[in-house]
Structures are given as structure tokens and as C-alpha cells.
Subunit: 276 residues, 2 copies
């Protein structure tokens, strides 16, 4: 499909994250078209998107012709969990799964890096959200120099082939990088520190990884530039404002699912001949 979103990374574009907005409020299609510029003015639009998503999910489930794979990536605190709970609460849980990819188990580590990912891809009729994904395998190992640049390129090629195959088998793939500024991450971590109820969420690792911010931004730029394709586009979503992030992502989901032109299946029996 032809995307009109300003957040799309065009195929073969050389992404520069520093040139991409984290706030979204200047030059936004929502602000200019619909006058949406605050959480309050965004709320009814988000409700509309959620209702549409719920309806599209119903037809997706009934038709069993396509599946939807949503990839969420971003720096720590970028809002992956919040995106899931805000946009997908309201969808029938029967048709929507979330797969989180943590440190690989010993068995997973003995397989190629796409093995455990393939297992979690959506069957026809289903939406699956990847909370982190196969892209982690070209980020953290890269930043910490556990793999070299050649291995990164090889993996990115493998990812392209893998995603193209999923697409050709009926999967709509939409990938979102939740783009926050370094300052915003500072604010969010400080908010966790200031709130004793959120202390259980704090971990040493988050603060250590934060020191590698520039290296991660570089790794993301390469990964996204090389894997944003027509069959599996990346969107760099301004994510400093949670409400704006939810609005922008849900709109792209609605547009993407509408483009599948889903239809309820034909009856398998003649209802007029049934006697109860």
C-alpha cells in the first residue's frame, strides 16, 4: 500500500534519528488536519481508532485469510508496554497475542536467532504484537561488540528474507520504533525513582545500558534503514508524548488493516435448508 504517514521510513532511505521528531507536535498531520494538540482533544480520536481496530480484528478473525504482526522497539522507558495496554485493551484477547523476547533460553541460544521468533508469528486470523523482537539480535550484541559489522549485515539480510516470506504468506507486518529523546528518558527514570510504588521496576541493567545511548541510536539507524521495506515498513513514532504516540500508532494500524480489504467468509451451508 501507499503510506501517507510522515513517520514512514522509505525503503532504502538512510535514516537519521536526530532529524526525526520525538515530540510530534510541530508539523503533525493530526494537529493541522483535526486540531488535535492535547491529550483531551486526542481522546475521542483514540476511542474511534480503538473501535475501528476492534471491528477490523473481528473480520480478520472470521476471514482467516491474513494475519497481522506488529513489532515494537525502542530504548528503555520508550513506552512499549504502555502502547500495548493503551491501544490493544478493548480488542478481543482471543484474536490478539503478545510475544515478549527476553534473554534466550539455553535451547533457544542453540538455534538460529529467528527460530524462537518464527514460532511466535501470528497464524491467519490473529494479531500478534512483538514486545521487542528479532531486532534485538542486531542491537545489544552490536553495541557491546559481541558480533561484528559483517554479522549484523548478514542478520539484517536474513531478517529481510524472513519478513518477505511472512508477507508473501499473508502477514501484514508493521514495525514501530518508539522515538524518545534522551532528556525524556531521564525524566521517565527520575519519575520511577521518585515514586516508591515503581521502585520494583528499577533494575541496574537499565541504568548501565543508558550509557550506550549513542551506540544504540547508531545500531537502530542501520537496522531500520536496511529493513524498512514495502512488505515490512518501519515507522519512527514521536513518543515523548504518550497520547501522541498512541494516536499515531493506532492510526497506522487502522490504515494498514483496512488495506487488507478483509471480508466475512461465505457460508458453508444453506441456512434455508436447516430445520431445528
Amino acid at each position: 500500500m501507499k503510506w501517507k504517514s510522515p513517520y514512514l521510513v522509505e525503503p532504502h532511505e538512510k535514516l537519521r534519528l536526530a532529524h526525526r521528531e520525538t515530540s510530534g507536535l510541530s508539523n503533525s498531520p493530526f494537529v493541522s488536519k483535526s486540531g488535535v494538540h492535547t491529550p483531551e482533544t486526542a481522546a475521542p480520536v483514540l476511542v474511534k481508532h480503538r473501535d475501528r481496530l476492534a471491528k477490523l480484528q473481528e473480520v480478520l478473525y472470521a476471514s482467516q485469510t491474513h494475519s497481522v504482526l506488529i513489532v515494537l522497539q525502542g530504548m528503555d522507558t520508550a513506552g512499549k508496554d504502555g502502547t500495548i495496554s493503551h491501544i490493544f485493551s478493548g480488542i478481543n484477547p482471543q484474536g490478539c497475542d503478545v510475544a515478549s523476547f527476553k534473554v534466550p533460553t539455553p535451547l533457544e541460544a542453540r538455534h538460529d536467532f529467528l527460530w524462537r521468533v518464527h514460532e511466535k508469528t501470528p497464524p491467519r486470523g490473529q494479531i500478534v504484537i512483538f514486545n521487542r523482537s528479532h531486532y534485538e539480535d542486531v542491537l545489544s550484541p552490536r553495541v557491546h561488540k559481541l558480533i561484528d559489522g559483517k554479522t549484523v549485515k548478514t542478520r539484517l539480510d536474513q531478517i529481510n528474507a524472513f519478513e518477505e516470506s511472512l508477507h508473501d504468506n499473508g502477514t501484514l507486518i508493521l514495525k514501530f520504533f518508539l522515538h524518545i529523546s534522551h532528556d525524556e528518558q531521564t525524566r521517565r527514570l527520575q519519575a520511577r525513582i521518585d515514586d516508591p510504588e515503581k521502585h520494583w521496576k528499577l533494575s541496574d541493567a537499565d541504568f548501565k545500558e543508558r550509557q550506550f545511548w549513542p551506540q544504540y541510536q547508531d545500531a537502530y539507524e542501520e537496522a531500520i534503514s536496511r529493513t524498512s521495506r514495502k512488505h515490512a515498513p518501519w515507522f519512527v513514532i514521536p513518543a515523548n508524548h504518550k497520547w501522541y504516540r498512541n494516536l499515531a500508532i493506532s492510526e497506522i494500524l487502522v490504515e494498514g488493516m483496512k488495506s487488507l480489504k478483509l471480508e466475512y467468509p461465505k457460508p458453508t451451508m444453506d441456512a434455508s435448508k436447516i430445520k431445528l
Copy 2:
């Protein structure tokens, strides 16, 4: 825990489905205590239950000490899908999965009947809803005389041992039989026949299985009587009225999850020592 629900099947009780209500409106704790007797008066209570469930799910997910397994069984059209979409929309899909058990695959059929079921049980922190379950293996094969009474009893013993083991490892198990009358099934099937938009849902098999209604009721009575235990109780829910069914089930879920006395985990690091 000590259940006050009138829909509980007491351990070792000999269940008679004919003596259990399908409407729920006479002798209901909701009607007598809260004056709830219509969909309109039930709506705010259901919203309250859903909000509580959403909060309980959050602590469940954070604490990682327990898991919740919900088993939904019932005759065709009893409302298993509707229960899931009405009660669990609103819950964060990250913490809630649905497992549907259809005809076993060739590989599944080569395993014991609990193999594929065990794989789908909830890890700590998670709610999993079984839309049909291991109980199917003592229902349809029984009704169609593919297994004898001795095999049924053996399987029910195995189910008890399996569920007790899950319970002892931290899983809250709640099992619901959605109890509709034969007349109500007739009405629901007729409604599908009358609505061309629902014809795709019609299948020959539903109408064939309907002829075995009494045999299924017998099979359910035996299965439920033998497997309603303190560690894994069955509830026979009046399900002719969808709003009443949703109310009754969601109340039991809230009570059950409250009884776990879930708490947010302790912090793993000292927040006062963090410098950003």
C-alpha cells in the same frame, strides 16, 4: 478459599444439571443484594468488575508469584466466545492469553491427551483462558462411544492429579460450565439462521451434535462431579442471559484473584542511590 457462590459445585457433590438454573434470575444473589435484574442495572456492576480485574491482573503480572487458569466449557452457542470478549476486553493483552483446543493435530494425537494442554498453561504472572479444554477428551469421545466408562474415569483421575499439581505450583484454577437450556440453544441457532451476516458461522457439525444433547449433559455431570475440587472448583453458571452470565463469572474471577493476596514485588535496588 471458602466460596459463597451459589453456582459452586461442592467437592464430591453429585451434580444434576436439570436442578441447576439456566436463567439465574430467581434466587440470585445479585438480584436480592444489589437490585440487579436487567442488563441496564447490571452494566455498572460489570464495569466495576472489569476495572478490578484489570487492576488485579497488573499486580499478578508484576508479582510473578501466581498464575490464573480459567476453563470455559459449555454446549454449542453457550457463549464461550462472548464471555471472553465481554469480560476480558479491557485487560492488558500482554498478561492474558486465550488457548482454543480444536481437533488434535496428528502429532498431538500421538501424545497423551494432557500434553498439548500442559504446554498452554499459564506461566507465573499470566492469565490464560481455555476456550474448551482437556475436558473435551471425556465428552465427545464418551458420547460417541469411542472410549468406555473405565477410560473416562481414568482420564478424570489424571485430570485431578494434573490440576492439583498446577495448583500446588501456584496456579489459581477456576472452571466454568456455561449452562443454557435446550430451548435457548434453539433460539440462538435460529437467530443465526435468520441473520445472513452470521451464516458463515453455521456448520453441519453443530446441528449433528445437538441431537446428542442428553448424552452430553450426562457426560458433563459425571466429569464435573468428579473434578470439582477445592484446588480446582467448577461453577455451573446460568447462561441463558448473557449479561447475567458475564456478571456471575466476573464476580467469581474477582473474588478468586483477590484471595491470592497479590502484592507488588520489593525493589531490587536502592532508588536513593541512583544518580542520573
